[in-house]
Every structure is written in structure tokens, then in C-alpha cells.
Symmetry: C2
Amino acid sequence: MREVAVIGVGMTKFGELWDRSLRSLGIEAGAAAVNDAGIEGKDIDALYVGTMSPGRFVRQEHMAPIISEYSGLVDRHIPATRIESACASGGIALREGFMAVASGLHDIVVVGGAEKMTDVPGSVATDTLGMAADQEWEAAFGITFPGLYAMMARRHMHEYGTTKEQMAMVAVKNHKNATLNPKAHFPREITMEQALNSTMVADPLGLFDCSPVSDGAAAVVLAPLERAREFTDRPVVIAGSGQASDTIALHSRRDITTTDATVAAARMAYEMAGIEPKDVDFAEVHDCFTINEIIATEDLGFFKKGEGGKAVEEGRTQRDGEIPVNVSGGLKAKGHPVGATGIAQTVEAVLQLRGDAGKRQLKDVEIGLTHNIGGSGASCAVHIFKRGW
Amino acid sequence: MREVAVIGVGMTKFGELWDRSLRSLGIEAGAAAVNDAGIEGKDIDALYVGTMSPGRFVRQEHMAPIISEYSGLVDRHIPATRIESACASGGIALREGFMAVASGLHDIVVVGGAEKMTDVPGSVATDTLGMAADQEWEAAFGITFPGLYAMMARRHMHEYGTTKEQMAMVAVKNHKNATLNPKAHFPREITMEQALNSTMVADPLGLFDCSPVSDGAAAVVLAPLERAREFTDRPVVIAGSGQASDTIALHSRRDITTTDATVAAARMAYEMAGIEPKDVDFAEVHDCFTINEIIATEDLGFFKKGEGGKAVEEGRTQRDGEIPVNVSGGLKAKGHPVGATGIAQTVEAVLQLRGDAGKRQLKDVEIGLTHNIGGSGASCAVHIFKRGW
């Protein structure tokens, strides 16, 4: 397999973008990534698009050729492929693009992720997201994602003494981080009091434990490392790629305080990159609910099982902590247009490694990790990035 | 890139399968392919699932981990990825599986395709299929796929003198072929009179010019050719893989009597396989409407542009003709559970090359081709198969 590098990144602002369509978001992100890479449309050999449910959100399937056409790429009739794995659609699309380049089948590949979630009433958005759970054994009985993650939180609290305060600290940290990110949906601080006293959604998760329903898109341009220097002097290498699956229904898991798909995908990525968790300098993890950032930091091996809550409390995941987590603001405050999330995490990793992260730039970072989950953990993609120069 | 072989195939019966769920169909096809390959679940490294719109048809996204779980593969947490490209979802999933093996990332990969279309009223099925067209510029104004293909047919008739009789001959041929296929949705002959006098759907296309709404699933097992002999003495090699895209809306094409995505995907596949159209011994093509078989046989290079209708009339695409087309019955009579179609075509190609096609076995065939289209031609996958022994 060839080594694969990211040579360009781009993303739209995340938020409630009433005046934008799904395709226009995809094009904006793609064009930004292409410009960042300094390539032209004619250089692109293939396109991957991660998006969860455009059929339900905007009544449109078959999104990949649409993005290709509306990006002006139609003349070369390039392969354009949509990947769906619920909220992990972006991360898994990245892996497919990585594979296309690594295999030698394609050279320059654009991977985008996009979702337009606010054109439907809130109940339809929640209902659609519920299709990432088991329709026959979970969703049909009325449960939605806040309820599933609430059960994971409750069990984590029971097993390990994790507290509501610790979960609130995840939200406070990520909102503070988002103030440094001009693309964030909610770039404003919240207090512990606000977090702890917010409207109850599914006990113990309050409103500020939940990521928002957002619109947005992100894109990256991939190339074989051996050709990357034609385009940039700061290629970022995809050093590790892992993907794993688990039972779709939460009740079938051996343990609901851990996501085994994260453990398996991380193992695969660490092995490919030849590194250990302690080598990671920063991570963008899937904090769809605050409890999931705590679980992720354990499952990724940054902290021992059960100590993720304490680690937040001790500030170890802060910007200036030993392993900064979600310096972009995370899904919680940057926003969570589901198909875009895995790619937006990649954008952040690349910007940080290149030193292009503006006000939120971390110092001396050499290895970054992204962690993207679908559903309550039935699918997961983990990627590891390092400097290619 | 490594050479890739198909080492096992399986499919369900196609039809109106009222007592079956989408997941049960996927599992049945997958188990049949795994048994045919003589492997066990623990041998499988990754899973790809092509399905167009389970979110609309059965209220379930995130299908790939479901198929993995319900197939009993959950313990190894293998990567499980859904591909969607409307009715080309299966063919493009095959290409992604091919890439996964060719790259060296995975060894044994199962690729399945499935759709459950009959659990919704007919109007919902038509509406959902319409999401493969441009929602903003086509579907929103009321057109559905019979109307789009009717315009393609009308223009083909105008440009090349293609007749309604020639289109009816496609239907009569494919229904006759389906009588030899125990898996077919409609394994019965129709007469020219029936075909020509059937209920008008969208002038000039009558009911018998249209493929049916079907349920069904199909699956194949892939392995690197260098390992294929561990499992079978008759591995079938994927000699060529092509994929291409085009404008999503029919009105934006340079010419609506041809599908440029077919031309581009075929060129890519022929080049990879190092063959020409005349080397192909038989083909399974995307006859979603009879006109599209005629267009496909031209665009794939079997006949000159405009001569596809005449070729049918002359019997050149019959079982005993120079290039048998859709000996399985095609989408028209075998059925068209959209996500399954590209994989079912692959199953037919493999059975024919192995000599396992039962009553419908062709004599002395060495190279087979499959052609799978999404929408009115916005995406296309073409694959070429040959014996690996």
C-alpha cells in the first residue's frame, strides 16, 4: 500500500444555515479544500461523500454524483461514491478515500462529509437520527439517542462513580474551546451552573450534555505521499486508519460503559501507525453527548477504564492539559452535522499539525487522532495523523 | 494492486417477499455466499453492503453493522460499510470491496446488496426511487423514473428509428430467459402482443417495458487471487472495474440517447482488463426499462450507436446470439430490488463462468460483463469477470 497524505482541507461554518442547501454546503467545503490544496478540478480522480440521511432530511439520495456535478467536475465523469454509517459516515468515507489512494487505483481523491438537518422539524430530525439505532428492537419502542446515551451515562456513573459535574465539565471545556473557532455553531462559553441546571433531556443528560442539530460540510483532498510535495510543503500523513463495528442495539453489548468498536478501531489504527496512545498529542473525539467524550478517552487508551471523568475534572483534557481533547469545540459546541463530523475532525487535525489553527493553535503537536462514532457505537472510525515533512 | 477473485456467491429469490425483513434477506444471501465459498464467519475481514434507501423503505439507516451483527460476525468487530448510489449501490459496493482486497488492507471481504421495497405503498416506492433524480430540478416538478426513461426512449426512437416493437422484444427475451432462473421474480414468458398492449405507464413505455418493484438480496465473497485456491478450484477473477458519474438531471446531459457514465466506466473496465467489447462472451446489463438495455448494449460497445434496437430484432442478444444479454432474466424479469441488482448481476456472471448456471448455462463462455446504473445514468459501475483457473 502507498502512504497517503492530506494535501488540502476546507469546511463551512457549522450552524443553523437556513439559506443554504445540502449541495451548496458540500460544494463550498469541497472548493475550499481544493483551493487549499492548490489543485484544480481536472486534477481530481475520484470523490467520496459521507452523509447519513439526505433521503430523510432533504428528500435526496444519490448525493455523490450531485456533489460532483455541482462542483463542476462532471466532464471527466469521475467515480463519485456515497458512504453511510450514521454519524460515522464522514470518518468511514475518509477510510474509503484512503483505501482508494493507498491501493494505487486513484491519485487525487476528494473526501467530503455533509448534512443539512435543520430543514425538518426537530421531531423529524430526532426520528431520523433514531434510524441509526435498531428500528426493530430499539427505535420502534420509542427510544431515541439521548435515551440510549443516558443509559450509558447512568451505568458509567454506577460502575465508576462518574458524576454529573464531570459531564458538565466536558460541556464547559468544549464551549470554551469553541470560542476560538470561527466555524463553530455555538462559539460561546457556558458556566457550570448553566450546564448543571439546563433543561433535562434524558436523565442524567441535560440540554448542555447534548450536541446540537446542525447544518454544515467539510472536505479534504488526499494524494499519495510520493506526489504530495507537488502540491504542498506540509503534507499531513494518514499514519493509521481503523474501522470497526458492533451490535446495532445497545442492549446486546457485553458492557454499555465502553464502545468495543472504538477499542477495536483504535487498536487497528495504532498498529498501522506503529504508535501507542501515549504518543498522541491531541484528539478530536465523538462527544455527541458529554458522557461519550469520557468513554472515548478511556476506550482510546488515554486513561484507564473508569477514570475518564476524573481526568476531565483534573484538567488533563484541557487545551493546556496532557492530552487536549476537542480543541475545535467538539461536536458539543462546534456542532454536529452528522455526515460532516468525521471530516471536520480531520480538518482540525490537519490544521493543528500544519500550525494553521489560528487562535486555537496548540504548541508542539506532532501526532493527532480523530474518533468518529455511528449510533450508540455500532460503527467507529479512528484515524491517526502526523506531519509528512 | 493485488488481483481479486470471487470465491463464493449467493442470492435469495427475488419477488414480493411479504414475510421477510431487509436484514433477513441480507443474512440469507450472505450465508449462501459464505457456504458457497466454503469459509466460516471467522475468516471474514470486512463487509460492504449496497442498499439504496432503507431509511425510506424500512425506516432503518446504518445497515452495514446490522448485517454484520445478525450474520453472527459481531465478535470480531469487522469494518462494515454501506455504499449508496441509487440503483448502482450494489455495483459500486463491489468496486469498494474489490479495492479493499486489491489494496492489501483486507483479505476476505463479503459484499452484499439488498433492498426491501414492498413494505410501502407503490406511490411511496416510486417517490423514494425518485430521490435518485434531482430533487430540486426534476423530482420536485413531479417527474418519476418511467417519465425520465420515456424521454430517453422517445429521443432514441427519433434519432435512430428505434421502435416500440424492438423495446417489446427486449421484454419478451428477458421474460423467456427468466423461465430458466428459479430465483426470478417473474419466471414466465410473455408474448409480443401482451408487451405491446400492456397498460401505458409513460408513453412510449408500457407496463412490460418497466422492471418491477422487488425484494431481494445477493452477496459475493472476495479474496486475493493468490489465496483463492485455498478455498476453491474455480475462482473467478475481477479482471476489470470501472465506475463513473454524470449529471444527476437528465436535462443537463449533452445527449439523452446515451449514458456517458456507462461509456466512461466501460472504458475504465476494458482498459484494466486489457480487452475490447468484442471479447465479451455475455453481459448482464441494467434493463430497468427496456430502452436502457438497448442504450447499454450500444454504450458498452457491443453495437454501434443507434443499432441496439436492430440488434435485438436480429436476435443478436438472445441466449444463442453473438452476445447473450441478461440470460438471468435481467432486471425486467429476474426483478430489481435496487441495492441488490449489481451484486445479483455478479452472481450470474460467476455462475456462468464456473458452469454452475443450471438450465440457463451458456456454452464456452470465458469473459462476462456486468453493467449497473444509478438513476437515469448519474452513476454507473461496470465489471469484467474471467476464469481464474
